[in-house]
């Protein structure tokens, strides 16, 4: 009986999957045939932002609200995960037994340290180039987070203290984004509507803060996963 129920569920899931596949395929084909896409609009409006990378312009200017809210989502995920990763705040500072055993030595300490410098260099380059070439805050943040994960795996217990110490980086992007939004609203009258003369500078400030917050939140979420669980033992 149970087995039968399970196979029915499987067929329904397969049906749902195929239905979704068909719908999206139809949508994609219709979009490809009919829609001109937004690239012309973006290229035409690019001069208003004084940056040369259209993706950065979309992320931080044209669709600034999306990125602003994304920073809010990341902050919420980090807050929830760090509240859940230990019953008391003591636990968050003191490395747990779980962090020490499976993680210590899983990446060679020396290798993790060697990787740190080139990864940080790559991240800085991505952040610097992001306004005019492929790259940007999210990519730079992800690379720094990868370096931080390798470092946490290499140094195990002691890294969680350092991760806790940078907590103020987590809300930095949301804060800078909101401040910038309000500041440009004073000039232009619209929230997040960057005026042309300052658009590039405003976006660069937001980018630096976003890279820092993304890097910190992703690295801290990794630490939260390591710290969660193992309580009952």
């Amino acid at each position: 009986m149970k087995r039968r129920h399970h196979s029915l569920e499987g067929w329904l899931a397969l049906l749902a999957g195929l239905l979704a596949l068909g719908l999206v395929a139809a949508g994609v084909l219709a979009y490809q045939a009919d829609s001109p896409g937004l690239q012309d609009l973006v290229v035409r409006s690019l001069a208003q932002t004084r940056v040369d990378n259209p993706v950065t312009a979309v992320l931080l200017d044209f669709r600034g609200y999306d990125t602003l809210l994304e920073m809010g989502v990341l902050l919420l995920a980090w807050l929830t995960a760090s509240t859940l990763s230990g019953p008391s705040h003591e636990r968050l500072v003191r490395p747990s037994a779980r962090l020490e055993s499976p993680v210590d030595g899983s990446v060679d300490r020396m290798l993790a340290r060697l990787l740190l410098a080139p990864l940080l260099l790559v991240a800085a380059y991505l952040l610097w180039r992001g306004t005019d070439a492929p790259g940007g805050a999210l990519q730079a943040g992800a690379v720094v987070a990868a370096a931080a994960v390798a470092w946490q795996l290499g140094s195990g217990a002691e890294s969680s203290v350092t991760v806790r110490r940078g907590y103020w980086l987590a809300p930095a992007a949301l804060g800078v984004f909101l401040l910038a939004g309000v500041a440009v609203a004073v000039v232009t009258g619209t929230f997040l509507n960057h005026p042309q003369f300052a658009a590039r500078e405003v976006m660069m400030a937001i980018e630096v803060a976003t890279a820092a917050s993304v890097a910190y939140i992703l690295a801290a979420l990794f630490a939260c996963v390591l710290n969660a669980g193992g309580n009952g033992k």
């Binding site: 569920e9 499987g10 329904l12 899931a13 397969l14 749902a16 999957g17 195929l18 979704a20 596949l21 999206v24 395929a25 994609v28 979009y31 490809q32 896409g37 937004l38 690239q39 012309d40 973006v42 290229v43 259209p54 993706v55 312009a57 979309v58 992320l59 669709r63 999306d66 990125t67 994304e70 989502v73 990341l74 995920a77 980090w78 929830t80 995960a81 859940l84 990763s85 019953p87 940007g136 999210l138 990519q139 943040g141 992800a142 993304v214 939140i217 992703l218 979420l221 990794f222 939260c224 996963v225 969660a228 669980g229 193992g230 309580n231 009952g232 033992k233």
Partner: protein
């Protein structure tokens, strides 16, 4: 359009992900299936940005994917934390009850 192969692969991945989320029982497998679903959607979005030879790439879907990737990674981490905690609470219900009394 040159990206059709990527759209097809993305759609297959997304369908596999949906199937996995519904059918697989273990939360870790569900989480991995969600990630495969997400990867499929991202692949479709990246491919859809290709507007054909000689045309500029549409930057809006690319920006959506960049945003989505970071959110997907943090959602996965949050899911893992929730999973590990619920595992813990099931393993040691007595500790949690005493915690509740202390708070209430």
């Amino acid at each position: 359009m040159t990206g059709l192969g990527y759209v097809v692969v993305g759609l297959v991945l997304a369908a596999m992900g949906i199937w996995g989320v519904v059918v697989l029982a273990h939360p870790l497998r569900k989480l991995l299936a969600l990630n495969i679903l997400g990867s499929g959607v991202f692949l479709v979005l990246v491919a859809v940005a290709d507007r054909g030879a000689g045309q500029a790439v549409d930057p809006v879907p690319h920006a959506l994917v960049l945003t989505g990737l970071v959110v997907a990674v943090s959602a996965t981490a949050l899911g893992l934390v929730l999973m590990l905690r619920s595992d813990d609470d099931r393993a040691a219900p007595s500790r949690d009850q005493s915690d509740d009394k202390g708070v209430g």
